[in-house]
């Protein structure tokens, strides 16, 4: 019951966004608004995915691991939309313009890197891939999500156009820092309690 509801819930952001666009409610620059919001949802879902393990361990709510993959894939879903909208509506698929952006603009460099690193995680998300890779290697690969989190926050931070617009990036940076830091004592605790 929980998983299907979550599946539908995670579609809500894109549906709401498209609805507002069709009603002209996204302001004078709707394309910028859409790219921005899709990126924000990718980042939020990334943080939600990262919060599964700490919540599991704190509340001993182990069933939560079953939604972690869905949240992770939805993060990838929104990241793909964010990137496609940027490549298509912002850059008209102009390869040289895109190349210039990636190479010369630090915030796009880290954004691009962050997205590229998400791809192997998305590809290896299925049960079959976990089996083929083996649990240990799979876990090692998926620890990339920590780096992806940091690069994504940096992408958002550097994108903020002037010094006075860092309030939002700050929030995400703090959230990420908490989610990463909390793993250190919790992991040790978990290993102690699960050691048989």
């Amino acid at each position: 019951m929980f998983k299907p509801s979550l599946f539908v819930l995670c579609l809500f952001p894109i549906l709401w966004l498209l609805w507002r666009e069709s009603m002209g409610q996204l302001g004078a620059n709707p394309i910028e608004a859409m790219i921005r919001e899709l990126g924000l949802w990718a980042l939020r879902l990334l943080l939600l995915t990262l919060s599964v393990t700490p919540i599991r361990q704190l509340l001993q709510w182990h069933a939560l691991v079953r939604v972690r993959r869905m949240l992770g894939l939805y993060c990838f879903f929104y990241a793909v939309l964010h990137v496609i909208f940027y490549l298509w509506l912002d850059q008209s698929f102009d390869v040289s313009d895109i190349f210039n952006d990636i190479v010369k603009r630090p915030f796009i460099t880290v954004g691009f890197l962050s997205f590229v690193l998400l791809i192997p995680l998305a590809i290896t998300s299925s049960n079959r891939m976990i089996q083929r890779m083996g649990g240990k290697q799979w876990r090692q690969l998926h620890r990339l999500v920590y780096l992806i989190g940091m690069l994504s926050v940096l992408h958002f931070w550097w994108m903020a156009e002037s010094k006075s617009r860092l309030a939002e990036p700050w929030l995400y940076a703090i959230a990420l820092a908490v989610l990463l830091a909390i793993r250190i004592p919790l992991t040790r605790l978990f290993l102690k309690t699960s050691a048989r």
Binding site: G27, A28, Q91, D97, D101, R105, E161, S164
Partner: protein, 310 residues
């Protein structure tokens, strides 16, 4: 009986019968003729903005819709989001308003908005406006050339630059109160840039008085430069000898220079300036050198390295 009769009138003074019989029609014609000559002048005097004349300097590109022009603004005095000025600008009191003209001029002094509207015939100038952030609009401004105002105050030979200062009223401008930027906002032009016919002092747009979020009651429009040089809500115009420091130069000197001419060849350190999003359009379009005003302004920069003097 003595009846005094006037001996001054002769037969030839008698009104011809035809005209006499049609006297009412002639009277009506006369009144109509006078009214039609005077009415535009009277209307213009009462409503200078609505009766602005068309200017040959206008572009015939498609106009950006009024609600976009008045709801997507960078005016940090009212908040840093694009939607903030439309929401918060109503707190600024724009009448009465005077501009102080000072510095290297023969006749420094103040001029009120009333006098400005009375003394300087207004035109409608449809200009492109290109923001440094990478979006642009086409706006039907109402105003007159800055050169007309400056000439009235007679800049002297030491006047090499013109400095502009915006209003400073934190109690009426929420962004100033929150100190989101260093205020009051200041800008500047070289004297020849200021005297160029394109350089506009605007008091209205779309045939109406300038909305607060667009820089009421009077602002600058320099269409061949990035939009932040088109300073809003001007209170001081100062003629100076040395190049004045502008607000964005002070805030981020490696990103924003004094000239800030629209130039697709010179990127902003953090993004490319080759393209722009025309508000209302789906795909981006190529940015033009000097925002398409090359013919009128390129000669101002002969011999200058516009990469160095960004």
């Amino acid at each position: 009986m003595l009846i005094k009769t006037s001996t001054e009138l002769s037969d030839s003074a008698v009104t011809p019968e035809a005209i006499y019989l049609q006297r009412r029609q002639f009277l009506q014609l006369g009144i109509a003729a006078t009214a039609s000559l005077l009415a535009p002048k009277l209307f213009a005097a009462a409503n200078p903005i609505a009766s602005a004349t068309k200017s040959p300097l206008s572009t015939n590109e498609e106009l950006t819709p009024l609600d976009s022009v008045t709801s997507y603004n960078n005016f940090y005095e009212f908040g840093i989001e694009k939607t903030d000025p439309a929401q918060h600008a109503h707190t600024l009191v724009t009448t009465p308003w005077t501009i102080n003209i000072e510095g290297e001029v023969e006749k420094p002094g103040m001029i009120s908005m009333d006098d400005i509207l009375k003394n300087f015939p207004l035109e409608e100038r449809i200009y492109r406006l290109r923001c440094v952030e990478g979006w642009s609009m086409v706006i039907p401004w109402i105003g007159f050339s800055l050169s007309s105002l400056l000439k009235q105050f007679k800049p002297n030979s030491r006047a090499k630059y013109v400095q502009f200062i915006s209003v400073d009223r934190p109690e009426q401008m929420i962004g100033q109160k929150q100190k989101v930027f260093e205020f009051p906002y200041q800008e500047g032009l070289r004297i020849d840039e200021a005297m160029n016919p394109l350089t506009l002092l605007s008091v209205g747009l779309y045939g109406k008085v300038l909305p607060n979020q667009n820089g009421a009651p009077i602002r600058l429009v320099v269409p061949w430069k990035y939009g932040f040089k088109s300073i809003k809500s001007i209170v001081t115009i100062r003629l100076v000898e040395k190049q004045p420091l502008t607000s964005w130069q002070k805030a981020l000197p490696n990103e924003y220079g004094f000239y800030s001419n629209v130039n697709p060849e010179v990127d902003h350190p953090r993004w490319s300036q080759k393209k722009e999003r025309r508000i209302g359009e789906f795909f981006k379009r190529k940015t033009l050198m000097f925002n398409g005003y090359t013919d009128q302004v390129a000669s101002l920069y002969n011999g200058m390295d516009l990469r160095k003097d960004y």
